[in-house]
């Protein structure tokens, strides 16, 4: 449960099932919550690489502000420093990256 103080909602995202989730805080650790009548549900987000779509081009690597991506031959690695900001997912020319929010 979140403490009952006012929190700044940085942005909202949709979970895979279509729920509206609120991202709290702009730097990690970020909290992702679904606030509805039944209470709060915590989520965590992570970057997913769809390896079947990725063309191993390095475009995403160059824009990551955390330096969390690395192209190792034909393999895109995501390091722990990833904040799930989604910048890389936006620029990928093929749509191979996705920030997923899970319970």
């Amino acid at each position: 449960m979140l403490p009952c103080t006012r929190v700044a909602v940085e942005s909202t995202v949709h979970s895979r099932s279509g729920e509206i989730l609120h991202i709290i805080g702009s730097r990690p650790p970020q909290f992702i919550v679904n606030i509805n009548e039944t209470g709060h549900q915590h989520y965590h987000s992570m970057l997913k690489v769809h390896r079947d779509i990725c063309g191993y081009c390095g475009c995403c690597v160059s824009v990551c502000p955390e330096g969390a991506l690395e192209l190792i031959d034909a393999y895109l690695c995501v390091e722990k420093s990833c904040t799930s900001c989604g910048i890389c997912a936006k620029v990928c020319p093929l749509g191979a990256l996705e920030v997923v929010h899970e319970k």
């Binding site: 081009c57 690597v61 160059s62 824009v63 330096g67 020319p93």
Partner: protein, 398 residues
């Protein structure tokens, strides 16, 4: 591969290969490490280069020239086509390379000169001593070894990580990465000796789409759009597929590649103690054209010259290596990057109507010199209004 060299080059693209070859020729011991198993593949490039630019480094060889260009065309957002030709009709103005072979040839030449080459070998961390770069940890097939060097030349391309590991911020701003996709297409109707550039917000927002002939009926057909404009349902691939379906419905795609081209300003500083950063890793791509082959070779060569001089004097501090940074910034290439950055910034803000107007103002140009600069000069001549809008920039062009 030994465990000590004068110069360790990270990356076997044009920047790294030219750096290695020149460093060896200056009497230094050199090793190139390349993380991919094969130099030059997969190709992440439209492979276009100007005639003079190429000749400055290497004589053209039919083995790696796919096609010779005698002109170019620009297609306005409304479909109007402007033709650019050399004043001497039929004169060669540029080439479309076969970079699989070209990149190999450059590395081959470095190896022949005496450089060691290690493929499928990745630099995985710098060796730092009191903040000074002294070499790199390199990984090959799960084995990590330390390779020390007086100077490391980072030539690790758009996906560069090495300089970042040394504490330099290399992040390309979202709006200044060209998110790109390209098909090599066969069996299409094209002008085999002219490149074609398509502009417009519907076609390629804040970027352009290109058709670069590779043969009589084949071409690199690709696109770059601003990272800012990219997103689900409107990615580079979506735009390219739409264009291809409309323009080359019968064409066959025989290769499919993705890529990123930085069109930001170069890094604030391209040297550190024991480190020189070159090519795409230094973000020295021409921000207007997205061309980086020449700039990579130029900075690669300069890096080798400066490395030899500084190693000779026994001083590889950042202060000593600054000659490299200062020299390329003051060079023709450095000045072109600065000027073209401003022109790009101006052009991406223009609505389609304005781009139409500019392109309509000249329907056919015979250029004395086939360069972006002379094209811009000609366009400004017929559009005095543009001169006012460009302000101080216009003065620097005249």
């Amino acid at each position: 591969m030994k465990n000590k060299y004068d110069v360790l080059v990270i990356g076997g693209g044009p920047a790294g290969a030219i750096a290695a070859k020149n460093a060896v020729e200056k009497g230094l011991s050199v090793c190139i490490v390349e993380k991919r198993p094969a130099i030059g593949a997969p190709v992440r490039c439209a492979e276009g280069i100007g005639k003079e630019a190429l000749h400055e480094f290497i004589d053209p060889d039919p083995r790696w020239i796919s096609a010779e260009m005698t002109g170019a065309s620009i297609v306005a957002p409304d479909g109007f086509l402007m033709k650019l030709e050399s004043e001497l009709a039929g004169n060669k103005v540029g080439y479309i390379l076969d970079r699989k072979i070209f990149d190999r040839e450059l590395v081959w030449k470095a190896a022949e000169a005496g450089a060691d080459v290690a493929v499928k070998t990745r630099a995985s961390a710098p060796i730092l001593e009191k903040g000074c770069v002294k070499g790199a940890k390199v990984e090959c097939c799960g084995q990590v070894t330390s390779v020390t060097a007086d100077i490391v030349i980072a030539a690790d391309g758009v996906e560069s990580k090495f300089s970042r590991w040394c504490g330099i911020d290399t992040t390309v701003p979202l709006r200044e990465i060209m998110s790109s996709v390209q098909y090599v297409m066969a069996d299409i109707d094209i002008d085999a000796h002219s490149t074609v550039f398509y502009l417009g917000n519907e076609v390629a927002p804040e970027g352009y789409l290109w058709v670069f002939p590779k043969g009589r009926r084949s071409a690199n057909v690709g696109i770059g759009i601003s990272g800012k404009k990219s997103g689900e349902g409107h990615r580079a691939k979506d735009y390219l597929d739409r264009f291809v379906k409309k323009t080359f419905p019968q064409g066959k795609q025989i290769e499919y590649i993705a890529g990123g081209v930085s069109v930001c300003r170069p890094l604030d500083c391209t040297v550190a103690d024991g480190l020189i950063i070159t090519g795409d890793a230094a973000r020295v791509v021409d921000p207007l054209t997205g061309g980086g082959i020449y700039n990579s070779m130029y900075t690669g060569k300069l890096a080798a010259d400066v490395a030899a001089e500084c190693i000779g004097k026994g001083n590889v501090t950042k202060t000593a290596l600054m000659v490299y940074d200062k020299t390329w910034r003051a060079s023709k290439m450095g000045k072109a990057i600065e000027r073209n950055y401003h022109i790009k910034e101006y052009l991406i803000k223009q609505p389609d109507a304005k781009l139409n107007e500019i392109i309509h103002s000249v329907s056919k140009l015979n250029l004395k010199e086939f360069t972006t600069l002379s094209l811009i000069k000609e366009i400004m001549m017929v559009n005095p209004k543009l001169m006012l809008e460009l302000g101080a920039l216009a003065a620097s062009i005249r």
